[in-house]
């Protein structure tokens, strides 16, 4: 059993949304509206409780020669977003029921039969992935197709991707493939191609890496994601001080205030 990952290569994505459809069909995820968001050909805007794969349609300014486009055409890139399956996952640490677990494949999995819908994982995710389904009451996100991986199959989205933009495999070999792909892209003159894998941040790397062109922030990939447990020390110190002040202050007040405090 190996530790696995996604490598999503936006330079190969054609925006077909096959990954979204495959994910919904395999996992039985409900539809979430067939309205256009108004932002290019995007329906849903972001990953959420009913969108575990989300194809971003990134329209940027017309740049001559960019991506082989004619100068008049707005350049257009697509990228299929997904739960990052952080090495140090905010949702997993925050979950008070133990519903969210780390699988043997390195993914972060919400056990639906345990989740009681407290919603604490939602503001604890630095990537804004987990969401509570308001009808169902529980939190949902990408399962990393735990059921499929269990029986040796690749996740539904990776299988359905027609251009191998979504690559799935053992994490170390994927990191190596990412570097090879970057070298290839740079060799073709796409010097702005880069790998998004926040290994230096407190999430300590992810099991879903992305090859993007230009600044990753254009794809709403945060430059410095932080797992919220890094704030715990500061917060509990303040809590301990508050408890000490409350205890000491109350003792002092009642010892000095006299037995019945007749004098106001």
């Amino acid at each position: 059993m190996s530790v696995t990952a996604f490598l999503t290569d936006s330079t190969l994505c054609i925006g077909c949304k096959a990954c979204e459809v495959a994910c919904k069909e395999w996992n039985g995820v409900s539809e979430d509206g067939l309205e256009w968001s108004g932002y290019s050909y995007d329906n849903t805007g972001a990953v959420g409780a009913s969108t575990w794969r989300h194809v971003k349609f990134v329209e940027i300014a017309p740049v001559p020669g960019y991506g082989g486009n004619s100068p008049e055409q707005p350049s257009w890139t697509f990228s299929s977003d997904v739960c990052k399956h952080c090495e140090e996952a905010g949702c997993l640490e925050a979950c008070p029921t133990g519903s969210i677990v780390r699988t043997e494949f390195g993914g972060v999995y919400i056990q639906p039969d345990v989740c009681n819908g407290c919603g604490y994982c939602v503001p604890s995710c630095p990537f804004g992935v987990v969401e509570r389904n308001q009808k169902d009451g529980r939190a949902f996100k990408c399962t990393f197709c735990y059921d499929r991986q269990k029986v040796g199959l690749q996740p539904a989205c990776a299988k359905a991707c027609p251009t191998e933009s979504i690559k799935f495999g053992e994490i170390d070999s994927l990191r190596q493939r990412a570097q090879e792909r970057l070298a290839e892209l740079h060799g073709r003159g796409m010097n702005d191609a880069q790998l998004y894998d926040p290994i230096d941040s407190s999430v300590q790397g992810t099991h879903a890496m992305f090859i993007v062109r230009g600044d990753a922030r254009t794809y709403n990939l945060p430059p410095a994601p932080a797992v919220p447990t890094v704030y715990l020390k500061k917060a509990w110190r303040s809590s301990a001080i508050a408890a000490g002040v409350l205890l000491g202050g109350t003792l002092l007040a009642f010892l000095a205030g006299g037995k019945d405090g007749r004098v106001r």
């Binding site: 932002y39 020669g65 009681n116 804004g128 600044d215 709403n220 303040s238 205030g257």
Partner: protein
């Protein structure tokens, strides 16, 4: 195809809509394109994806899914926890029995209301017990639930035993239950009164985690102000110890308010601007300077005047404590919706006030090959 309906069959609304279509047609004929006001889609010009805008300014972070129960739970927990501490210390130092009893009842009421609020906010309330499968020190929610459990058991036991004591006299089991319950409510009440600050501080929401080192103290002192306030409204307006505690809480809350106002970090904007800023400041004034002024004034003058002023200070503190929790939760929602913050984390880039970046104007230097 049937003939068009005759005009006299149209309602006024329908006529107005038809006239609008005529206007659009005339505009198109005249200019070759639509230039009418209102012909552009709402929100246009649309933002563009860029390093500054992120992905069309769609917020990265999700807002907490909590409903009205949660700020109320923060308030009740703070007041009940502080009351339990006051009740226990008052008992140990031999203060009047009535005060101890009232403090215990406030704690006991909180011990029932708090879990009710917490459970009703769950997406699956019937699965509340799933919280008790594990204890996770790294999850403030898990620590909080176990603290709540200990506090509720202790506070309810102390109040019930106190009731038995008053009614049927003190037998040994009743005394044991009373003292054990009181000790538990004291031990758990101390963290219970402020852990909610840790709960929201240790999240990905910028305005909360930037205040992670302040929120527990802020919530704890706000809870103390509310606990003292409720006891004073129950008639303990002569008690000097409560006056001192109320003064202390009001002084701290005043300082905390000045601290928030004094720091200029764009992450703190929801606490200063807009609706959330207004609510924050209202809560701040009601829990800090106002009760402080009223309490100082109550130190002078006749006893009747003093008691009346303390009543107002108490009411102000209670309301301020509730509004403060509501304000911080609301500020968290505003903060989560600010698409700029996650894009700027860790960088020294000042926030942009640019709300009009349109297609073709964004900086695309970094895309040059």
């Amino acid at each position: 195809m049937s003939d068009p309906r005759p005009l006299h069959e149209f309602s006024v609304e329908e006529l107005q809509r038809e006239r609008r279509l005529d206007e659009i047609r005339q505009d198109a004929e005249l200019h070759g394109q639509l230039q009418l006001v209102g012909a552009r889609p709402a929100g246009a010009p649309f933002p563009q994806a860029s390093p500054e805008n992120g992905y069309y300014r769609i917020p990265l972070l999700k807002q907490p899914p909590w409903t009205w129960e949660i700020p109320l739970y923060f308030f009740v927990g703070g007041a009940a926890g502080a009351s339990a501490v006051i009740g226990a210390i008052a008992d140990y130092t031999g203060a009047d029995r009535e005060l101890v009893k009232h403090a215990r009842w406030i704690a006991a009421a909180g011990s029932v209301i708090s879990p009710a609020l917490l459970i009703s906010d769950l997406g699956r309330p019937e699965r509340f017990l799933a919280m008790l499968r594990v204890f996770k020190p790294q999850s403030a929610m898990s620590v909080g639930v176990w603290t709540l459990l200990g506090f509720s058991t202790g506070a309810a036991a102390a109040a019930f035993a106190g009731f038995l004591h008053d009614r049927y006299g003190a037998s040994l089991p009743v005394r044991v239950m009373e003292q054990a319950g009181q000790a538990a409510s004291l031990a758990f009440g101390l963290p219970f009164s402020n852990y909610t600050g840790v709960l929201i501080g240790a999240t990905a929401i910028p305005v909360w985690n930037k205040n992670a080192g302040d929120l527990p103290m802020h919530f704890g002192m706000s809870g103390l102000g509310a606990g003292v306030g409720i006891l004073e409204l129950m008639g303990h307006r002569k008690n000097r110890a409560l006056q001192a505690l109320g003064l202390g809480a009001a002084i701290f809350e005043t300082w905390e308010g000045l601290r928030i106002e004094g720091r200029s970090h764009y992450h703190l904007d929801p606490l200063k601007h807009g609706t959330s800023g207004l609510i924050t400041r209202t809560g701040g004034v009601l829990s800090g300077p106002l009760p402080l002024a009223l309490r100082i004034a109550s130190l002078f003058g006749s006893e009747k005047r003093s008691r009346s002023l303390r009543r107002w200070a108490a009411a102000s503190s209670i309301l301020g404590s509730l509004i403060t929790r509501m304000a911080l939760v609301h500020a968290g929602h505003v903060s989560a919706q600010d698409w700029r913050l996650p894009l700027q984390q860790g960088s020294a880039t000042p926030r942009t006030n640019d709300k009009t970046a349109v297609y073709g104007q964004a900086d695309f230097k970094q895309h040059g090959d």
